[in-house]
């Protein structure tokens, strides 16, 4: 990670470096020495800008730094008077025995000034310590900055207060003319944003919220939030704009990666790779290198997306060709390649690491040769060089992944609980790696092919993993992919290599058995069938027959989409191998062709030993009864392949057939024309739960029923009687209440005696 970040950034500048962050490596020194142009800028280091900056900060800081500020003012004036220029080399610090960093200055500089400078540094550190939120960001920004000037400008938005006061300030920097300044500005901004982004979700207040009365603190908070948001927005917009400019792409992509997830990062990289022409390729090389390092560091346990972006790289083959016309160089190269390829076994013995080194050496040599040959065409040469470099990185990554996969992963998978395991298996990068190998197979060096094929063979057979835990075993799809890649590699090299592919056929033959429709990827199977069986050379009759038989058998086992792909392949095989059509006929003499194996062995693992020529394709008769109309028609058309001349199915590839029949493609619209007619009932009466009238008569006991009814009515009568009694009770209660009210009124009217008597009477009544 550290390396990745550092690479494109110019080395740090000594004076402002704080002790704990000093990481001045030889590399940096080397860099400065090499790039004197950059270093020249160091001259401006300790002039107005820094002082101004430091003082600014100090000014805002604390009262006691006021004094320092005063001193600095003095120092500044001193320096101004002197008008010093520091030699770039002298600017490098010297570490004393006491561990103190001493910056060599031009001797004219007074001791006092130097002391003050040191003090100022201390002050800066103090400040760093006190600004809680931003220290890290600032430090990082500082250490990363190569030039004082850029630092000076970029630092401004670093402070929260500044951001608050002038949200656009930071973004404004990015409009600076100097590209480097802009870059650094972006960098520091990204650091700042990362640090000050609050842990909660923020958004702009709605209008309603704005109307409400809020406390001062909330208002302040809100203001801060909204300024933060708007400046962040501006920053992102800037990033988007800059992304289109070639010189900024890498930087912007990197910062974008910091903010967004992997996905956006990948899209950014993709656009970087596809628009290579705009930036000349340097960014590509760097990006690819970074990814390579990344894979190396993380030991191939990364998200597949990180490798998948390689697929978007494009390598211009014409580059070499145009040169070959001029320099006749590629002919030589071709010869050289072929010469090496004659002895691939020599390479097999070597381990991966060495071959990779060899590859690098080789490419370097080639580059040198190209350099000499085409020195008059610098542009093409340059691009060629970069391309080669990129390619070497890409293949380096790919081979690393392959090697990683072939290695037994028992102990590793036991200890390494990567979160990626769940979703992508133990070899998350293998699938995109194989895809990439397939795509760029024509660019692989021939010397390297033997090794590649060997490891692919090993992967395809899954041998190396047989003793390891089942989790780390390669899946069927991955193994199929290995076969596919092997074939692609061979084909793209025009079958120049004389490698025996029989092993891959055996693997495919067995993998068809192991394939499970929902578990494994059908597209991969279909592609494998297409590349290995439908295309390419004529097959051995035994092998073709074995595959025909196996495909037919497995189409009874597969779902419809896979079965269709198998049938398409089967048909293709039958069409190209006339003798295999004997499988369609059940003659007693068929055994004469079967050769060494007289009886069909369905479980045989080697297609050549299966004796499939002795079998008959009975499966097709059952497939004619398949529920899927497409499959049943395909099966019957295959059955009549000898007699009829059909064009159907001829054009489709297994892959296409698979896609057409997969459930995602299903429209669920039945063919109405066939359905509407002829749906009349042939034999009208069928057995039913109830048959006719016999149940129309009530079968229960009449007496029971009578009892039920009487109970029912008794209950209802009880209820109604209850209700009427209640009604009566209610009316009585109300009348009593009324009377009591009346009594009270009467009392008020002072007619006591009568009232009392009435009351007594009333009570008696009840």
């Amino acid at each position: 990670m550290g390396k990745k970040r550092k690479a494109p950034i110019p080395p740090q500048l000594p004076p402002e470096v704080t002790e704990e962050e000093v990481e001045v490596s030889d590399e940096d020194v080397h860099f400065v020495n090499e790039n004197k142009d950059y270093a020249k800028l160091l001259r401006r280091l300790d002039t107005d800008s820094i002082t101004k900056h430091v003082s600014r900060v100090a000014d805002k800081k604390d009262d006691d730094i006021e004094a320092l500020y005063e001193k600095r003012k003095k120092k500044k004036s001193l320096e101004k008077n002197d008008g010093l220029e520091v030699d770039p080399v002298d600017a490098l610090p010297i570490k004393t025995l006491g561990g103190e960093l001493v910056y060599r200055r031009v001797t004219k500089k007074s001791e006092k000034a130097e002391k003050e400078l040191k003090e100022s540094e201390d002050a800066t550190e103090d400040r760093d310590g006190s600004v809680v939120k931003l220290t890290k960001a600032e430090k990082r920004a500082k250490t990363k900055k190569g030039r004082k000037e850029a630092k000076k400008q970029a630092k401004e938005p670093v402070k929260t207060e500044d951001v608050q006061e002038n949200p656009q300030a930071g973004v404004l920097i990015c409009k600076d003319d100097d590209q480097n300044i802009v870059k650094l500005g972006l960098l520091s901004l990204s650091a700042v944003f990362k640090d000050i982004i609050p842990g909660y979700r923020i958004r702009l207040p709605t209008e309603k919220e704005l109307e409400m009365n809020v406390s001062k603190a909330v208002k302040k908070m809100r203001y801060y939030e909204s300024t933060l948001l708007s400046s962040y927005k501006a920053y992102l917009q800037k990033l988007v704009v800059l992304e289109k400019k070639p010189s900024f792409q890498l930087v912007t992509v990197r910062y974008a990666c910091d903010f967004f997830g992997r996905k956006l990062c990948c899209t950014a990289l993709k656009s970087l790779f596809t628009n290579e022409g705009k930036h000349g390729g340097e960014a590509t090389v760097e990006a690819v290198q970074l990814i390579t390092d990344h894979v190396k560091i993380d030991d191939c346990q990364l998200h597949p997306d990180s490798i998948e972006v390689f697929l978007y790289l494009s390598f211009d083959e014409d580059l070499g060709k145009s040169q070959s016309v001029e320099g006749d160089d590629s002919n030589n190269r071709g010869k050289k390649g072929r010469k090496n390829s004659e002895d691939p076994k020599k390479w097999k013995a070597n381990n991966k690491k060495r071959s990779r080194k060899d590859l690098q050496e080789k490419t370097r040599e080639e580059v040198d040769a190209d350099l000499k040959a085409t020195s008059f065409a610098p542009d093409a040469l340059d691009r060629k060089r970069m391309q080669t470099e990129t390619l070497s990185f890409v293949f380096q990554t790919y081979f690393r992944i392959l090697k990683h996969s072939t290695r037994s992963t028992v102990n590793r998978s036991a200890t390494n609980d990567s979160f990626l395991f769940g979703r992508f298996g133990t070899h998350p990068l293998l699938a995109p790696c194989l895809n990439g190998l397939g795509k760029f197979s024509h660019l692989i060096d021939l010397d390297f092919m033997g090794d590649l094929m060997n490891s692919l063979k090993m992967l395809a057979s899954g041998v190396s993993n047989s003793e390891s835990s089942p989790e780390s075993r390669l899946t069927v799809s991955e193994r199929l992919r290995c076969c596919i890649v092997a074939f692609k590699v061979m084909r793209n090299n025009l079958d120049a290599l004389n490698v025996d592919l029989q092993e891959f056929f055996v693997q495919l033959y067995n993998l068809i058995l192991e394939y499970r429709p929902d578990r494994d990827q059908g597209e991969v199977l279909a592609e494998a069938l297409k590349i290995m069986l439908c295309e390419g050379r004529q097959h051995d009759m035994q092998r073709a027959a074995a595959f025909v038989k196996r495909l037919a058998t497995s189409s009874l086992f597969f779902g419809s989409a896979e079965a269709m792909a198998a049938l398409v392949t089967l048909k293709d095989l039958l069409q190209r191998n006339a003798k295999c059509r004997n499988l369609l006929e059940n003659d007693a003499g068929g055994g004469s062709l079967s050769g060494s194996v007289a009886k069909y062995q369905p479980c045989a693992s080697d297609p050549n030993l299966s004796g499939a020529l002795a079998s008959v394709l009975w499966e097709l008769s059952l497939l004619c009864k398949h529920y899927h109309p497409a499959i049943s028609t395909a099966a019957s058309s295959i059955l009549t392949i000898n007699t009829a001349n059909q064009v159907y199915l001829a054009a489709t590839s297994p892959l296409q057939a698979f896609k057409d029949l997969s459930i995602e493609q299903e429209s669920f619209n039945p063919q109405r024309n066939s359905a509407t007619q002829n749906r009349k009932r042939k034999n009208p009466s069928k057995s039913s739960i109830l048959s006719g009238n016999e149940l129309a008569q009530y079968s229960g006991d009449k007496e029971v029923l009578k009892k039920m009814f009487s109970e029912h009515f008794t209950v209802i009568r009880d209820i109604s009687e209850n209700e009427s009694l209640r009604r009566e009770l209610n009316s009585t209660v109300t009348s009593i209440r009324l009377y009591e009210e009346y009594k009270q009124q009467k009392k008020r009217n002072a007619k006591r005696l009568k009232g009392k008597r009435e009351g007594k009477k009333e009570k008696k009544v009840h």
Binding site: H626, A675, I689, L738
Partner: protein, 578 residues
């Protein structure tokens, strides 16, 4: 009354009361008016003419207290002397009985007169039992079978005009009774009687609607208690007759029944399995009455299911997936599977068949995870059913073997709780997967499903090929599994299969392309009934038969029958081979 006494004694108090009443009265009246309005609204407009027709009767009634003897004499008159003049009285009494206890003013009066529950009982029984016959006699139509047209044809005659109010009164009262009573015995009885006179309903569409509603309500909500299943049968019978007789109500009937089913099938527990099963069977029955018509309905429904599935496949969103792996969805599919397999032999339902198979495949495809194994097993079951009924080939072995994959080395000590029932879950908790009981259960059902599939094609000429890959996988499985309890059934299965496969390796004299001879080969092999193999399937299926559920039983017995018929053909074997 008592209040009246006091008021008389105290004139001043009476004045007070009057004053109080004056204050209260307006409020009360307004209140009661409102009530009346709503109750009127519930009744349909034709209520008026019935009351009119009853007026003569009710005057007569008011003078007589209904007693047992009175009713006896009335019914005697109607039944023996064919004197229909007292019928309105009977009907009014019946109405009073039906409305007995309800708050109607008219009934409150009459209720006063019917003192004995015995009398009420008598009148209700009599009317329910006899009125259908009486009306038929009055109208002069045949007793049992009668077409709706004959009723509609009578509509303009003089006879109809006199009888109509009576019929209406009877039907209304009975429907009212249906709403009132809760006792299932009474419900069954009245539903049956209503069912008998269903033709009469044809003239009153609004009443018919009420009948459908009531019947469906009973049909759906009735609990399937022991011995009361016939109750449901009767409601079903009613609905069925309605559909048969009144064609214009068929659609509403079907739609309502389907909707009620949908609402009812959301939860499946071991206790309501039987009821659901019954519901499904009845719905299939209803839909099978008019297949061309229900074809369209089922197509719409299946397409709806398919659309949900499609969205699930495309988006893989959790909320859509939840709409798929619930009981409602599964039961719906099951319903249509049953409908299709019940009718596919007699009707051209190929389009539906294809659709539903794709939907089921899609569901199985969408939930490949082990936790959804019960759902997948159900899918396979349905596919098997479709395959058996339609005779098409549906590959299920890959699904089945997928399930086997999860059967591994279980924890031997951990056992499942007592409430273990795979048939009532779609998704199992994760910890179940490791349990021995669950795995055994799973294996048993896997073997059952496989043997159903194999037994279907066991006499097809390409059977060895059908069995090849599953056999290879099963053998691998057997090597992998260590627990003996899991091993044994598989071992038997494989042995039997191999035996059969080897025996079947013979030479037929034709090629796969001669489809006709392939068909005849099916017969030929049937003659050569391969006893151990067939017996094995039989035993597997019989085992599942013993296990449970009506559904399985049917399926199993069907299979046994088929197998037996194969065996019986054995005698002709020699003829063919020569």
């Amino acid at each position: 009354m008592k209040m009246r006494v006091t008021t008389i004694q105290d004139p001043e108090f009476s004045k007070f009361v009057e004053r109080q009443n004056l204050e209260q009265l307006p409020r009360d009246e307004a209140h009661s008016d409102g009530e009346d309005d709503t109750s009127d609204g519930e009744d349909d407009t034709s209520d008026q003419d019935m009351v009119d027709s009853n007026k003569g009767g009710s005057i007569f009634l008011k003078n007589n207290v209904l007693s047992h003897s009175v009713i006896e004499s009335w019914s005697e008159q109607v039944m023996a002397q064919q004197n229909f003049s007292v019928l309105p009285n009977l009907l009014n009494a019946y109405r009073a009985a039906c409305h007995y206890g309800s708050e109607d003013g008219f009934d409150a009066n009459s209720c006063q007169r019917v003192k004995h529950s015995g009398a009420l009982c008598k009148i209700t029984m009599f009317m329910l039992q006899e009125s259908d016959g009486i009306f038929r006699r009055m109208l002069g139509i045949g007793s049992s079978s009668c077409k709706i047209e004959s009723i509609l044809g009578l509509k303009n005659t003089e006879k109809w005009k006199t009888v109509k109010p009576l019929i209406k009164s009877y039907l209304r009262s009975t429907l009212f009774l249906l709403d009132q009573v809760t006792d299932s015995e009474i419900l069954v009885f009245s539903l049956t009687q209503l069912g008998a006179s269903i033709v009469l309903f044809a003239a009153f569409p609004s009443l018919l609607r009420r009948l459908i509603k009531a019947s469906l309500l009973q049909f759906i909500c009735g609990q399937l208690e022991e011995g009361l299943s016939h109750h449901l049968h009767f409601s079903l019978y009613n609905v069925r007759t309605i559909t048969l007789v009144v064609s214009n109500c068929r659609d509403t009937c079907l739609v309502k029944a389907y909707k009620a089913f949908l609402a009812h099938c959301k939860i499946v527990e071991s206790c309501n399995l039987k009821h659901l099963q019954f519901l499904v069977d009845s719905l299939v029955e209803l839909y099978s009455l008019d297949v061309p018509n229900s074809f369209i309905k089922s197509q719409v429904s299946i397409q709806h299911l398919a659309m949900i599935l499609l969205r699930g496949v495309k988006t893989k969103k959790k909320e859509i997936l939840q709409r798929i792996y619930n009981w409602q969805y599964t039961n719906c599919i099951d319903l249509w599977v049953r409908f299709i397999s019940a009718n596919i032999r007699d009707h051209d339902l190929q389009a539906l068949l294809y659709l539903i198979i794709q939907v089921i495949n899609g569901v199985a495809h969408l939930f490949p995870w082990p936790r959804y194994l019960p759902l997948r097993l159900k899918c396979i079951q349905m596919l098997n059913r479709l395959s058996c009924s339609s005779g098409v080939f549906i590959p299920i072995t890959s699904f089945v073997l997928d399930s086997v994959e999860y059967i591994g080395n279980s924890k031997p000590d951990a056992t499942l709780g007592k409430d273990f029932n795979v048939s009532s879950v779609l998704k199992v908790p994760k910890q179940w997967l490791k349990l021995k009981d669950f795995q055994e259960e799973l294996l048993l059902s896997v073997i059952e499903l496989l043997s159903i599939h194999f037994s279907q094609w066991s006499f097809h000429i390409s059977f060895p090929e059908v069995a090849t890959i599953p056999l290879i996988h099963l053998r691998q499985f057997q090597e992998k599994v260590t627990a003996e309890s899991l091993r044994r059934p598989v071992k038997r299965f494989i042995d039997q299969n191999i035996e059969f496969v080897e025996k079947k390796r013979d030479e037929a004299a034709f090629s796969p392309k001669d489809l006709e001879s392939v068909e005849s080969f099916v017969q030929l092999k049937a003659c050569g009934g391969n006893a151990p193999f067939v017996q094995y399937y039989e035993s597997v299926v019989r085992k599942s038969l013993n296990q449970d559920t009506l559904k399985k039983t049917r399926q199993a017995s069907q299979r046994i029958l088929n197998l037996l018929s194969f065996i019986s053909l054995k005698t002709q074997k020699d003829l063919f081979i020569s």
